[in-house]
């Protein structure tokens, strides 16, 4: 394969949880089953999702064989979590393996204007996560206390670490009268951690 746009999972009587409809091919004895209400996280998470519009439809892929996953030719990055939490845009999550659970979290007053909703998906525990990045390979940006980071909400994919996320508006009389520079809203990260962005804006 040229690049990393296909995720290959070798299953030996195991289960991988992936976004519904992302399987492109498989061999062996593998079954696909909807992970259930709320992406397998019970009714509380499902209820939150209904309320928040952070949609996440997962399926459980179980059996023995090789399974290939891909979504719209997007680049795929594998992230490892060790008793940690990853905050990720639901649309950029591809697959999960291991002791991981997903939930929805309030992220503050961002997205109301960027169209991404006020909530983000969190993945907590120990395991492997495959995330999608549109427009090319994902970009990992380090944030340190002395180096805060500002990113475009439409390019934001995920973050982990001790980060404080704030929504920055830059509305001046220029943008109010339509003479803005198109970058009126941004996400600011302070603290210690890593922010992942994609080269394409949603």
């Amino acid at each position: 394969m040229q690049g990393n746009r296909m995720l290959v999972a070798e299953l030996a009587n195991e289960t991988i949880r992936a976004i519904s409809g992302s399987m492109v091919a498989y061999d062996g004895a593998v079954t696909f089953k909807n992970a259930g209400v709320g992406g397998g996280d019970g009714f509380k998470a499902a209820f939150k999702r209904k309320m928040t519009g952070e949609s996440l439809s997962l399926m459980d892929v179980t059996g023995s064989g090789t399974v290939y996953f891909a979504v719209d030719a997007q680049d795929i990055t594998i992230l490892e979590l060790a008793n940690d939490t990853l905050h990720v845009e639901a649309s950029q999550l591809l697959a999960l393996v291991g002791q991981l659970r997903t939930d929805v979290k309030f992220t503050g007053l961002r997205g109301a204007t960027s169209g991404q909703g006020l909530f983000t998906t969190t993945v907590t525990g120990t395991g492997t996560i495959a995330v999608l990045s549109a427009g090319g390979p994902i970009i990992a940006l380090e944030v340190a206390p002395q180096y805060p980071l500002v990113v475009d909400p439409d390019a934001f994919v995920a973050f982990h670490g001790q980060l404080n996320q704030t929504f920055v508006t830059d509305v001046t009389w220029r943008s109010a009268v339509g003479g803005g520079n198109g970058e009126a809203f941004s996400l600011r990260f302070d603290g210690q951690g890593i922010v992942y962005i994609q080269p394409e804006e949603r």
């Binding site: 492109v24 091919a25 498989y26 061999d27 719209d72 030719a73």
Partner: protein, 223 residues
Amino acid sequence: MAMELENYKVLKTTIQPGQRVVARQGSMLYYTGDVTFTPYSMSGGGMPGAGAIAGAAGRMMQGEHVGLMVAEGSGTVYFGRNGLYVQVIELDGTGALTVEAERLLAYEGNVQTSIVSLSSQGGVRGAVRGAVTGQGMFTTQVTGYGTVAVLSHGGTVSMTVGGAKPQVVVDPQAYVGHLGNITVDLSAQVGFRDVVGRGSGEAMQLKLSGQGTVWVQASEKKF
């Protein structure tokens, strides 16, 4: 003649006198040397003026009839289309490559193509497969000895069918083509969960069995 990738999305072909390359019309990006391009009528294709019956058949095959051109002469020609990824497949004369005509970017002149009906491959089920997956009722078979360049959205992986893997299952939207002695069957795994909208999203699947290779693209988008 040499047909190779200049990069993932651009095909480079070196033509010598007496050789020719058949390519999709309008896919030439640039060339060097002394090369001429002429329209090419695919055998079994539209056949204008070949009578009412052939005309009707031609219309039915419309989905599989794309405009082709022949490049001849001496030089190097570069082909590409819409930023799609190019996969180069070598035919050794033993098996046929089955692929949708729309996916063919270019092939060597000594390779033969023919339009075949899906129903001739798998009876009524084959025809149903074409209708359900949106591939149409016809597909293209490429045979002979030479190189074929196939387009995909996001690039492809090849999977071997046969031996330890007697059956490979592919999403119809991600299926690109296959080579060898392979039977393709559409399977609709529609269970109760799919009906009530809680399905896994993998209700329609193509089951490939036999002996050969199948190419799958990294996307469920048709270009």
